[in-house]
Symmetry: C2
Subunit: 255 residues, 2 copies
Amino acid sequence: MAGDAVLAGAQRGPLWRQIRQILERRILTGELAPGDQLPTEAELAERFGVNRHTVRRAINQLRERSLLRVEQGRGTFVRERTLGHKLTRRATLSGTAKALGRQLARRTVAVEVVKADRTIAAALQISAGEPVLQVDMLRLLDETPVGIASNYFPLPRFSGIDRLIAKHGSVARAFEAYGVNDIIHRQTRIGARAVSRADVPLLGLARGSPVIVLFSVNVDSAGNPIEAGRSRYAPHWVEFVIDYDTLQPVFGRSG
Amino acid sequence: MAGDAVLAGAQRGPLWRQIRQILERRILTGELAPGDQLPTEAELAERFGVNRHTVRRAINQLRERSLLRVEQGRGTFVRERTLGHKLTRRATLSGTAKALGRQLARRTVAVEVVKADRTIAAALQISAGEPVLQVDMLRLLDETPVGIASNYFPLPRFSGIDRLIAKHGSVARAFEAYGVNDIIHRQTRIGARAVSRADVPLLGLARGSPVIVLFSVNVDSAGNPIEAGRSRYAPHWVEFVIDYDTLQPVFGRSG
DNA sequence: GCCTATTTGTTCGTATGTATC
DNA sequence: CGATACATACGAACAAATAGG
């Protein structure tokens, strides 16, 4: 019916761009979820009070950014999630991306020595308050930011690992320098929350957008915790898959 | 530094209740995440422009509802998630709840015969457009709604299962009447989005709050799909855990 | 297969404001 | 100042694909 956002009279930018931004926000917010069908061009034009051409221009932009999929005669749909990451004992996001012919890069955005809170401490099997190295890394899927990972490394042991990560662009490679040749996931906890204020500019989301939150604990081949991580992912770009059939049965040791 | 929500002058209800609602919204939104420490009572009082007693009253209410945890001398914290549900091949939410001494009930809120969309059809290994029975059930953890599950059953086979579910209060029991004695998870996909308009009143969330979205496919012991489900959970009450060590290795068939 | 309604795709034309030479 | 080019926006009509009966 009524209800739709009115285009502010005196505002920045041409109409089609304002419309693009409105739709983009709704998609990244999840208000328009992957697979959802948009109203018809005619209806959108009427709601926004513009010509159909103007709406089409906005839609075309979002199609180029692969946020929308348009089918002649059927309608316009929100693109399905691009990256379905299968959680297994050794799977990495970059591995999943590469298998799909895409590239997932890291960019370190902050490094800091902090005191382990209770959760981190428990995961790393140290005492709360002991120093750990926090490394915040932006995760970029083909240039677009899709998530942020805050990784925590126990400290005397892995001091300086942030420089190696930056150098190699890979946590696995950095670990090798410390004699760790195998990174194994022990546990992953999955939740959701509204994006934090600090993450908004990094992820390019609107305030209040939901993010998937992962808390993960990784161990070496001997079962010693080597890393704990809190990551936040934009749900439009990434989802997580538990495929019970392909999960590696565990032989041998651990906890 | 400013920033905090101003209490509307002429509004509904006493000050402490308005404050309680503001804090509650922030918690259920995830803006204040589980484990987060609240500002001190004094600071909250100052920001809201009220007496410390008023703030305490609001906090007490939220403590009774187990949204907050107060530690004398340390501070006030957002309660950790109550239900950490371990995903395994056979785990059920109600099982997890029972193991923790809590009760998880179902209440059917809608039943409808619909045409399977592409996703549901693929999961159930039928053709898109074939009829399936959609049963929407509210999930109540000790009376409070924590999620909604939309379950899809292939249709000639399980017609009328909604009445059996309502009768027994259990999907597993209902399945037995159809000769299905084992429900096995084949795949679970996890994402997030903003709560849909329709779910807002059922879950008691604020508009725009994040929800965890699960898409799951269940099969019988012969590997035939018997149910697909889309569930939405309030992230404050539930989180999902993948514990790679305790995941059952798979023996025998499937897929 | 046919007919119809719906929805996107395409191509005209017209008008307006802004920047540039 | 005028002439020109460009981006923006609206309007109308028709073509092409899809879905349903």
